[in-house]
């Protein structure tokens, strides 16, 4: 479904990656600085690779040789950033509706209630992001990405900025996300435990390259936290 074959120089560091992923949750698993976020940004269209191709469901999103580069606002990939990046000037409700409005989707109350209920954020609707806790913020960020009805969801270490108890708070929501929505996901993490709970496939990355592609067996013997 998603086919990525890209190269990108970032100063001294280079990302040269090739992998394919099917539906379900594909974990990009590797230590900090292994190029995971750069790779996700290339998939999202926020940075352009130097060489290579990115395809999704048979559609070319990026092709250096053919000079194709679909801009992020036409890829329709939901992106949950490590730091949430909610719009500080908008209420939670307006944040949630932002993607739906930009993509010109009809207001769908049932969908809104389903997502808001799944993430348990209904009571936050009128608040501004500045007043939310870290965990609440990430849940709203997930909801915002879901409500644009993405064809693929990119989650870049959505738990990394949270402490242990907040992580435990979010994890069940991510599992429900996987089991109830059916949206394919790319999940970036350096935590073996997170990946083990969520992922259906694993792309193991090391210093900008794909070291291995496979199932959860790739986690066997990996330290619990690769950043340590």
């Amino acid at each position: 479904m998603l086919i990525v074959d890209v190269e990108k120089r970032l100063g001294e560091f280079a990302v040269a990656t090739k992998f394919e992923s099917e539906s379900g949750v594909t974990a990009l698993f590797g230590p900090s600085g292994s190029g995971k976020t750069s790779l996700v940004n290339m998939i999202a269209g926020l940075i352009a690779p130097d060489r290579g191709r990115i395809m999704y469901r048979g559609k070319v999103l990026f092709d250096a040789a053919g000079k194709v580069n679909v801009p992020p606002h036409r890829r329709r990939f939901g992106y949950v950033f490590q730091d949430g990046r909610l719009f500080p000037h908008l209420t939670v409700q307006r944040n949630l509706e932002y993607g739906r409005r930009r993509y010109g989707l009809r207001r769908d109350r049932a969908e809104m209630e389903r997502v808001v209920g799944m993430l348990d954020i209904g009571h936050l609707a009128g608040r501004r992001p500045g007043t939310l806790s870290g965990g609440e913020r990430q849940r709203v960020a997930i909801g915002r990405a879901l409500l644009m009805q993405p064809q693929l969801l990119l989650l870049d270490e959505p738990l990394a900025s949270l402490d242990a108890s907040r992580k435990a708070e979010i994890m069940p929501y991510l599992e429900r996300l996987r089991d109830e929505t059916g949206v394919p996901m790319i999940y970036v993490s350096h935590h073996a435990a997170e990946v083990r709970r969520l992922a259906t496939a694993v792309v193991r990355m090391e210093s900008g390259r794909v070291a291995a592609v496979g199932g959860l067996e790739l986690l066997d013997g990996a330290p619990a936290d690769l950043s340590a």
């Binding site: 992020p72 606002h73 329709r76 950033f81 719009f87 000037h89 932002y98 993509y103 992001p129 007043t131």
Partner: protein
Amino acid sequence: MTLLDLTPDEWVAVRLSLRIAAWATIVSLPFGIAIAYVLARKAFWGKALLDGLVHLPLVLPPVVTGYLLLISFGRRGPIGAFLADQLGIVFSFRWTGAALACGVMAFPLLVRAVRLSIEAIDRRLEDAAATLGANRGLTFLTVTLPLALPGVIAGMVLAFAKALGEFGATITFVSNIPGETQTISAAIYTYTQVPGGDAPALRLVIVAVVIALAALVVSEWFARRAGTRLHGG
């Protein structure tokens, strides 16, 4: 309050000043925001030149700026002649010319304030908007501009205050014609040049102070409101 009993002529100068400053601020606002955005976000050949050009009125003697406006936007100046013939817009010795002079003089202040506030915005929020389906124009309108609003307001107030007090460039470009180009500043200057002009000059000085204070208070209120909107509450 007899001190503030303005004569009809003085009222004319006050109203004219407000009108000129308001037009100068409002008309230059879209240009100011556009140039501030370009200077804050784009890298291009000639950027230093554009930056210098925008700031020129801040460092040039106002009389020089006024004279440059006179020879380019005057009736026989290349731009002035074109605008008069093609669009019927005349600047020389009209209040519109005073507004142009004030707008040019205030422009660097406007651009600076807006540019700083745009530079302070986390660009990653714009990336987030892009992944949520906003093209560049919509990203600017729904994220960048609202977040820059406190700076835009501050810039407008600075520009308005500058326009209200502008003297040198205005008097050089469009002279000092009561009822057409004689602003508060020009009127005060005129009164100080004639015997017995102290009282009317002082009345206008008080008006100028009141207007300036009111502008500051209003802008402070707006900026605080925008600030609380951004940082929770």
